[in-house]
Symmetry: C2
Subunit: 196 residues, 2 copies
Amino acid sequence: MTTRTPRRGRPPLADIEELRALALTEIERLGYGDVSMAALAEAVGVSVRTLHRYFPAKADIVWGGIESSIEALKEALDQVDDHFSTIDALYSAVLGVFGRDSGDVSILRARLRLIVLSPELRASQSATFEGWREALVDFVARRRGEATPSLAASAVGAAVQTAIMEALSWWAVAGDDRDVAECLAEALGGLRELGA
Amino acid sequence: MTTRTPRRGRPPLADIEELRALALTEIERLGYGDVSMAALAEAVGVSVRTLHRYFPAKADIVWGGIESSIEALKEALDQVDDHFSTIDALYSAVLGVFGRDSGDVSILRARLRLIVLSPELRASQSATFEGWREALVDFVARRRGEATPSLAASAVGAAVQTAIMEALSWWAVAGDDRDVAECLAEALGGLRELGA
DNA sequence: GCAGTTATGGCAGGCTATGCCATAAAGGTT
DNA sequence: AACCTTTATGGCATAGCCTGCCATAACTGC
């Protein structure tokens, strides 16, 4: 891709995704709040300073790991049938991203579980989280025929994101008796009934 | 009220609300991110350690200042006419808390402005914020006839809180051409139209 | 005056995060 | 080969938030 530059100076020690995978293993083993950047640095084999260069903030290790889901969400939102209502379109697109059971999604679920179960991570407001919300806001604005998102679109987009996070939270902490689709349907369904 | 205990040991140096007022003045003067706990401690005249005892976290200085709004919100939600739809009831209650122009609310607005304009504060997920959401979730659950909040109620409550925060954000950063009621109406209106 | 109680404040330490800079490792140039 | 440029690394210092521990201060009751 774009990483095909011939490189001039000293080559990096490792790929960022390798480091992330190693770090996430450690985080899942010990818990996000109970493993320090120093411990992570030792676990993945770089200095603390370098680790901070790969991941500006500790939360980025986890949040950045689901960055690809934003692109997937955007694509899914673009491909939804026009005759769906906005909320149905959102449900369909989100389910398309999180509901499938490929290996990718299995990892994605583990990451989300990590985020959802760690208050510090939920609050962290990472760039990934922002991008995700932006995608939802843009979609809502488009549906409303707005060139630039109004307050209404921003509020709805952000609200939907919150509802989705809530659904994923319940799913993450629930036993095996509920699946993602069910949780998402209930959460977004509640939103749909609000107007009635 | 409940503070009428006869006191045994050493009396506190100051009332927590006095400290909060002093600290908030300093925070509003310099900006939340640009004033350290050390600076605040000096400004209000207590040690850093003691300041941390009054306010477990820096964010609590600001968030705690709008704690009373939770009670106000709960009361307002209790008194809404039953024939209002859920979303109308929420709009009416929230407007009742934030829309009036008493001196109290003027201070409340300043606090909210502070929170809304500071990313660190928005993300902080304070106890006050949690309590506020809890009130909304409980109301939604009650409306849905649930003894204990379901996922749907939790999602809707949290989503509504997000929409409200978005409305307050726009209002806080907007010029003087929009008032709170207008912003809240647009944000919640967007949510209402979602089901259509 | 003495004991018990409560609040304060200093100190040490752990944590995340950033700036600065010397050093290492690669490619290109002469 | 020697040297320069470029890029990455890692160590050091620093700032800031937060907590535990403990000595000390201030007030009440005996």
